[in-house]
Symmetry: C2
């Protein structure tokens, strides 16, 4: 298990299992409440996730919105509102620009909080609703793994480009998918998370990964922040939106990334605590 | 207007008015959605809101929960879930303790996000439900201003003590209050916010403020983080929980804090950007 995932597990143990009105707690893309409310939170930190010398404040806000809305998309949830908590360093004058970038997604920014901080911190929460929330954990051996679009584009662009969350695709796939996750930390990391949550293994054929222009196979497999969706679909089911099949879930617990010759490759995506 | 409130106004202009499923947006204690969902976010930053040499990680988590649950209480909302986004400095090993402190409120911690950060950052979102959300803006001239408990205790304790949010009191007062706000930044600041949102002025008689043991009148009026509630009640109405009347809303726009001799005092609470 990656250090970040181990820390998430320690936190989940510390707070105990979901209770009351919470039907899905720590460990998925978002939390699910008993009335179909779905909520996700993400924090972007200057010097860790972005560099203000290479991204505008508006782009940082847009990216923070994408990270959260992508989590909702991975649950098959439609967003209703965003909340923003900003830590603002002395001399930073563009907090309203960060908020404006968030609001470009067309989802109302409904509230927030402000504090001083040594670096810019953008913590965003997205709240939405899902009729049938799709967990990471519902995959079954034999399910086909599909992705919604080309991968590696952010690795090529140096992680400074704008990406749209796959909201419509996620809501459409929710009708058939057994499991879903958004590709924020790279397919190599995220497919392992989906498989582990589902109690399965996985095989991915790297040559089948759709690649963004200029992306290598390794960038497509291990680059982060593409915010495409990875879904598991029952064999023989029809995807309601265009997808590319890249592999399958397996009964054997290993997660194998196979090259064109069928040999396993050792690749891993982002781990913020590795 | 305080610098912090001016920045909130600039952000509200940047993102535009609430729309879609959002019925109450930026500028109140929490956002309100059209299904009665109420959501609030708060960020605590090491070196700004707390000092790990003077508070345990668990107490920091508890405090972060209080700040959010108090915002929900001020809307008359009952909490359902907390989400936590942590920025974690190198060498800090107690993230699970922060989460454990949050969960001591008895509200499930349902999800979150982790990142590296130069100092400990704890951004918490609380999600709840209210039958009749109480805004800051509903107060009318003549309404009686009441508080739910003693003030100034955190100023006496050096802002390191534990405080419980006034959830039950807020939910009960929601049946009668025309406006409500939680006292996070000190009554002097927060009463002015409630009055400005309501389009009224206010008179507070400082000698009537209930004081925590050892607290001076100034600490009760301008100390922050007490997390008691300030509510406006129609004259002659009966409060459903014990409260202390401390003043009234007025048609004149000034906010006056009067000493025992009836002379106005110049006091102000916290402004994180002053």
């Amino acid at each position: 298990m990656l250090p970040e995932d181990a820390l998430v597990s320690a936190i989940a143990r510390a707070v105990g299992p979901p209770s009351g009105g919470v039907v899905l707690g720590i460990g998925d893309d978002a939390a699910v409440l008993d009335d179909g409310t779905v909520a996700s939170t993400d924090v972007l930190v200057e010097g860790v996730h972005f560099d203000l010398a290479r991204m505008t404040a508006r782009d940082v806000g847009h990216r923070a919105g994408t990270a959260n809305l992508s989590d909702l998309a991975a649950m098959g949830a439609r967003p209703v509102a965003l909340l923003a908590a900003f830590g603002i360093p002395a001399g930073f004058e563009d907090a309203a620009e960060v908020a404006a970038g968030m609001s470009e997604h067309g989802v109302p920014v409904a509230g927030g909080d402000l504090s001083r901080a040594p670096v810019l911190v953008v913590a965003v929460t997205a709240i939405g609703r899902a009729e049938r929330p799709v967990r990471r954990s519902g995959g079954r051996p034999g399910d086909v793994l599909v992705v919604t679009g080309p991968l590696g584009g952010q690795a090529v662009a140096g992680y400074t480009g704008r990406v749209a969350p796959r909201t419509e695709e996620g809501c459409a796939l929710a009708a058939v998918a057994t499991a879903m996750i958004d590709l924020s930390d790279g397919l190599a990391t995220d497919v392992a998370r989906l498989a582990r949550a589902s109690g399965t293994g996985a095989v991915v054929e790297l040559e089948r990964l759709p690649r963004a222009p200029g992306a290598t196979v390794d960038q497509a497999a291990a680059g982060g922040e593409d915010y495409e969706l990875l879904a598991a679909l029952p064999r023989g089911s029809e995807a309601p939106v265009p997808v590319t099949a890249v592999g399958r879930l397996t009964a054997e617990p290993d997660v194998l990334l196979l090259d064109a010759a069928g040999a396993p490759r050792a690749l891993r995506g982002w781990d913020h605590f590795g």
